[in-house]
């Protein structure tokens, strides 16, 4: 058991932090957020240059720990570049399941030239579910997909989608035979109609309307439920890591403010009612960090366990809400202004809570297995 990063991972963290710190202050962030794209192609190219956009495509070279390290830094700077959702997560699916031709796409992704999106979420879907209503149909050797996907993160800008769709009877059953399988398909952007929108935390997404959209099965085709679930678990861990960076910075901003802002002739840090609350925020942060480590370390061990993903996300949701709310409260009025960063961290943490399942959704997952073991263990 070992909680230390390797020297290479330390370096990756420092390089990412350095690059983003030089790029993003709050003014730049607000300016970039106001563009149509909502993030910077320049920064994207820079991230590609330092090798971040292809992390993990070769599992021999990097894995979930590296992904975690990078996402925590993105979260810390609130960088809007969709590293996980437009590159690393859908890329990991292609890397694992794709055929040679599809995998060739990954070089373009890593170089920052092609954007991906995983189009899985559908209306009414909560948590890490793989059940979908979008249907795949086969005519001879060609496939189409029909359905509605929403919200699709980075769906506004993606060049290529990985779409999940229920397979027709007899075209790949789930390994447990419970239901028809879910296939994953590569769909080009020009085959879909999309309605792009902003999310409340300043990111971008879209609804995809798929009407017999031309689709190419990923790899050999057939049931891809297991691969899809792995991608969702990876993404959950990435979100947890990002949230930890955001929480850490929200707390840092808060303690800075408490020592610099004066009222009644003294710094706010003289008031125990405030410092005690800051201490509780620190406890929340460290518990969240531990669970983010847990999620990433489990994946790195090859253990893609939905229960561990739920455990991590539950803690991140609790800690994220606590830290976001108290970071604003301890700042006072400035905390709810758009010009000051802390409210934007709160928005991002709130959005993360609503992505891939809320705290309650995680609890449902955990409650299900509660009676199946005695003492809880790692």
């Amino acid at each position: 058991m070992d909680f230390d990063l390797t020297d290479e991972q330390d370096l990756l963290r420092d390089v990412t932090r350095e690059a983003l710190t030089q790029t993003y202050d709050i003014e730049t962030l607000l300016k970039v957020g106001d563009t149509e794209l909502g993030w910077s192609r320049e920064v994207w190219a820079q991230l590609a240059d330092i090798g971040i956009l292809g992390l993990g495509f070769d599992p021999e070279e990097a894995g979930q720990i590296e992904l975690m390290v990078v996402l925590t830094e993105l979260g810390r700077r609130l960088a809007p570049e969709p590293v996980a959702q437009a590159a690393l997560i859908p890329g990991s699916v292609i890397a694992e399941l794709g055929d040679d031709q599809q995998r060739a796409l990954l070089d373009e992704v890593a170089a920052g030239q092609t954007l991906l999106a995983l189009a899985h979420q559908e209306p009414g879907m909560r948590g890490l579910t793989t059940r979908v209503t979008t249907r795949a149909e086969r005519q001879g050797d060609s496939w189409t997909v029909t359905g509605r996907k929403n919200p699709v993160l980075s769906g506004d800008c993606a060049d290529v989608f990985i779409v999940s769709a229920a397979l027709p009877e007899g075209q790949g059953e789930r390994s447990d035979g419970s239901t028809a399988g879910v296939g994953l398909f590569v769909v080009a952007a020009d085959a879909v109609s999309r309605s792009a929108f902003r999310t409340f935390d300043g990111q971008r997404a879209a609804q995809l309307n798929l009407e017999s959209a031309a689709a190419q099965p990923l790899g050999a085709g057939g049931d891809a439920t297991a691969g899809l679930l792995k991608a969702l678990i990876r993404h959950q861990s990435a979100l947890c890591a990002e949230a930890v960076g955001a929480m850490e910075e929200a707390l840092r901003l808060t303690t800075d403010y408490l020592t610099s802002r004066k009222q009644f002739g003294v710094p706010l840090s003289k008031f125990q009612t405030l410092t005690q609350r800051a201490a509780d925020m620190y406890v929340s942060l460290e518990l969240a960090r531990s669970m983010s480590f847990y999620a990433a370390m489990s994946i790195a061990d090859g253990n893609f366990d939905p229960v561990i993903a739920a455990r991590a996300k539950l803690q991140i949701s609790r800690s994220g809400r606590h830290i976001a709310q108290d970071a604003i409260q301890l700042h006072g009025g400035i905390g709810v202004t758009a010009e000051y960063p802390v409210g934007h961290y709160a928005a991002r943490l709130t959005a993360i809570n609503q992505t891939l399942g809320s705290a309650d959704d995680q609890l449902y997952t955990l409650v299900g297995g509660l009676g199946s073991y005695g003492t809880v263990s790692l």
């Binding site: 125990q272 800051a278 201490a279 518990l287 790195a300 803690q315 790692l378």
Partner: protein, 391 residues
């Protein structure tokens, strides 16, 4: 980063598990599990078995009988001991006065006290808090005045846990009332409880039990060679002791055992809609507690690995703070499982309310103490705010 234990680490854990579950008498472990420990016998028996194996005080320096274990090994030792419901070595001996004597005591003091302390031939108690010195411990008023080869102690201590079984007491007393800083005038003295002038008065707690005491000192004459370290340096030793005490209060393994009991009893508690464990409102509370417990366990593993020079990481305040909150949350859950069966107390087995249910509410009330002792949770937050957050 690696989550799994290495083969050596796993073998180390398995050895301990085997030892704890086969060498500590089953009836003692059962009494620990059910919250009916027999003091002092169960604690003494268990500690002597551990000491015979050389694992009663692994946190002490090797030359004093400790083990050259990594922080992870120490953690595994503590976790396995708690999961097996082995009475932990008496904290006043193993985590408090022992390490202080080992670190700051003279060679004579070490030889005289450490072997007996490790083997629980001496049962120690703590003379720190006073009626006017709670969280503000440095304001102790008990005095020790040097008179020839003795110190003469006068004053009053309180909250002395298990003092009724104690052979010796370690005392913080003011030796220099004129010191420029009040912390600078305090010394750390050892006194035999049978010394003339020491009297003990029990304090009954809200659960009806008796575990803490007031201790009165009236012209108590203590040989000067029972001073630990330097005169007027006691505050330094006390801070060292308190930070060790803090780390021990997380009790994650024990809380795990209790949570498993909560689940087992809830699964056997019928409601109008199935069992209590099937009730989503109740199950969600259990799941939340389990999750925080795992988060704290991981945090403890992280923090213990980062201790430098054997000094506890200030982040150990998290362990005390959250660990005590979780112990309280679980005792609360247990009362809620018991429901109306929690009302009878000491009613025996003639009625339908099982013994565990009769013990639930007293335990819940008793465990309000854990957020108070060892430095209140508010003090822990102050430590976090000042030491870690720079506030």
């Amino acid at each position: 980063m690696r989550l799994a234990l290495s083969d050596e680490e796993a073998a180390f854990r398995d050895d301990l598990r085997e030892f704890f579950t086969t060498q500590i008498p089953a009836d003692i472990r059962e009494r620990v599990r059910e919250g009916r420990v027999r003091f002092p016998d169960d604690v003494v028996t268990a500690q002597r078995i551990l000491n015979a194996r050389g694992i009663a005080v692994p946190n002490w320096p090797v030359e004093c009988g400790g083990r050259d274990w990594s922080p992870l090994q120490r953690q595994l030792w503590s976790d396995e001991m708690r999961l097996a419901c082995v009475p932990e070595p008496l904290a006043f001996n193993a985590s408090m006065v022992g390490p202080v004597i080992a670190a700051f005591g003279s060679k004579e003091l070490k030889e005289r006290f450490l072997p007996a302390t490790a083997n629980l031939d001496i049962w120690w108690c703590q003379g720190f808090s006073e009626p006017e010195a709670g969280s503000d411990l440095a304001s102790v008023r008990t005095t020790a005045v040097r008179d020839g080869d003795s110190y003469v102690i006068n004053g009053q201590k309180t909250w002395t846990t298990l003092g009724q079984y104690a052979d010796w007491i370690f005392v913080l007393a003011r030796t220099d009332p004129n010191a420029p800083k009040r912390q600078a005038g305090i010394s750390f003295l050892l006194a035999e409880m049978s010394t003339p002038g020491i009297t003990l008065r029990p304090i009954k707690l809200i659960d009806g039990g008796y575990e803490v005491n007031e201790v009165f000192f009236e012209d108590v004459r203590v040989p000067a060679d029972q001073l630990v370290g330097e005169e007027n340096s006691g505050w330094t030793y006390a801070k060292f002791l308190l930070s060790n005490e803090r780390t021990g209060i997380a009790r994650i393994g024990t809380t795990k055992v209790w949570l498993a009991q909560v689940k087992e009893r809830a699964a056997n508690t019928p409601t109008e809609r199935g069992t209590l464990l099937d009730d989503p409102l109740f199950a969600a509370r259990v799941a939340e507690a389990e999750n925080e417990l795992l988060a704290l366990e991981l945090t403890q593993l992280r923090v213990s690995g980062s201790e430098a020079d054997g000094k506890p990481n200030p982040a150990s305040s998290i362990l005390k703070l959250k660990g005590s909150q979780l112990q309280q949350a679980v005792t609360e859950l247990l009362v809620d499982v018991a429901g109306p069966d929690a009302l009878p107390v000491d009613a025996g087995d003639d009625i339908g309310s099982p013994e565990w249910a009769q013990l639930a509410a007293p335990k819940y009330l008793n465990y309000r103490k854990v957020s108070i002792y060892g430095g209140t949770n508010e003090v822990q937050r102050n430590i976090i705010a000042s030491t870690i957050l720079g506030l």
